[in-house]
Assembly symmetry: C2
Homo-oligomer: 247 residues x 2
DNA sequence: CGGTATTTTGAGTAACCTCAACTGGTGTGG
DNA sequence: CCACACCAGTTGAGGTTACTCAAAATACCG
């Protein structure tokens, strides 16, 4: 199996290339992307883009987790999305960012200046196609989230959240035995960010987690390390509420 | 101003062409689209696509309103999106539909068989580009909706809903004097669909609407015809709650 | 080990839901 | 033309969920 052209060094070793919008690009296209790309490191808590301000870069998340937040005029906050490694950061085809992007953990980014990116996208339809696929997946996820926010109770919301994190962690780690029904992972978010993601308060999140521990659905080591003995059970709980909430 | 090629009859008179994914396509591309297109009429209440079932067509909404719903295993329902004339119907690049699509009013569609559409999309990057633009707009709207569902109270939700409908009605009618602060429109949805869209119950929607009437924010003629004396006021209420709910 | 931030727990409350009854408009049939 | 049923919407009373505010417990970090 020969490649007609060697990949640029960075891209060749890029762990998320195939899953990102760069996946399935030809060596030429990759080369063009690499020409305009630069790396950037952000510490946990750093703001990458401001809501309503001009975006000067788009890019791929190489490592870490980014949260996308919207804020109401009176200060109420909500997390509209989380980005994991291989996700695309930035709102293409628009000058201003519709949300604030903030590093939740330390983050490594592979960024493209907006103008250059848009130029290249016009030239390479494959890139557009990949971006479209990513955007459609994001839209599906967002639809699922509206169902969660519109119709699920606090317990189901937290269960759904854990499920989502477990899956993304599994995707990244890729070590999973498909027969394995148990899982373990580290929460990238604190209780208050989880609350902002689920449309709840910190206290409510905490209560539901406590309840899950009591019920044996999960066990915790410290505040962030979660073990799930049965993902199957968690899956059921995420969709079908245990309708007694007696604390 | 000459056109190098005449447009197909249907497309030439199509009222929503420029706003739809067909907008900005060349005469050749339009011709290709027209080749595979067929019209379909759906009566109010008709199911256009079933959740989880194979999509055999994509297409443009020419007329009427379509609701996209998701259902939980225990029957709880939620509307994840509304489609108006010029919106694109169907989840591209996927075989199964992630939601149920149902005609809310009588609906006129311009449909493309899935396989044909995908073939043409590969050939004409402009089409992909338009679809990407539409999908990104939908994603923005969905993000706004998660903010609504996650953080707004019942009153703000109904205000936001009226605002959205007013804007879409205005877009379509296109008659608006931009200085005009008042508006009038017909609700495409009944109370219970509004509730499913806003994550509330019929009763809660009804109470908020009653409150708005009492406060002079809107007036009704029948159950569906709404008049808004001041859109500016409605805009404020959609984001900033009047926190007393005394009935 | 001590200081700080985060999380948990508790008690009381407000917002929204549930259930049930009522209203008003529409359509049908005697 | 009126009586009746039917449906969507409204209103009311009471219950439940999740929120608010406050304090205690725990985890994290130098």
């Amino acid at each position: 199996m020969f490649q007609s052209k060697a990949l640029p060094k960075h891209c060749d070793v890029c762990t998320i290339r195939r899953r990102s919008i760069c996946g399935a690009l030809s060596a030429d296209e990759i080369e063009a992307m690499n020409q305009i790309a630069h790396r950037r490191h952000c510490e946990a808590g750093a703001v990458i883009m401001h809501e309503g301000e001009k975006q000067d870069c788009f890019g791929n998340v190489l490592n870490g987790v980014v949260k996308l937040t919207k804020t109401m005029t009176d200060g109420r906050q909500h997390i509209v999305g989380l980005l994991f490694p291989s996700d695309f950061l930035g709102r293409a085809m628009r000058v201003e960012s519709p949300y604030r992007a903030e590093a939740v953990t330390d983050v490594e980014l592979c960024l493209f200046p907006r103008a250059d990116f848009e130029r290249i996208m016009l030239r390479y339809p494959d890139l557009q196609s990949r971006l479209l696929a990513h955007t459609l997946d994001e839209l599906d996820a967002c639809h699922d989230w509206t169902l969660l926010l519109g119709r699920k109770n606090a317990f189901e919301r937290v269960a759904s959240f854990l499920l989502m994190i477990a899956r993304r962690a599994q995707d990244l780690g890729c070590k999973a035995d498909p027969n394995e029904d148990s899982a373990a992972f580290v929460l990238p978010l604190g209780r208050s960010d989880i609350a902002d993601f689920l449309g709840l308060t910190t206290e409510s999140v905490s209560r539901q987690i406590t309840k899950m521990k009591r019920d044996g659905v999960i066990s915790l080591h410290g505040n962030r390390e979660v073990q799930v003995p049965s993902m199957g059970q968690l899956l059921k709980l995420a969709d079908l509420a245990p309708c007694d909430t007696r604390a």
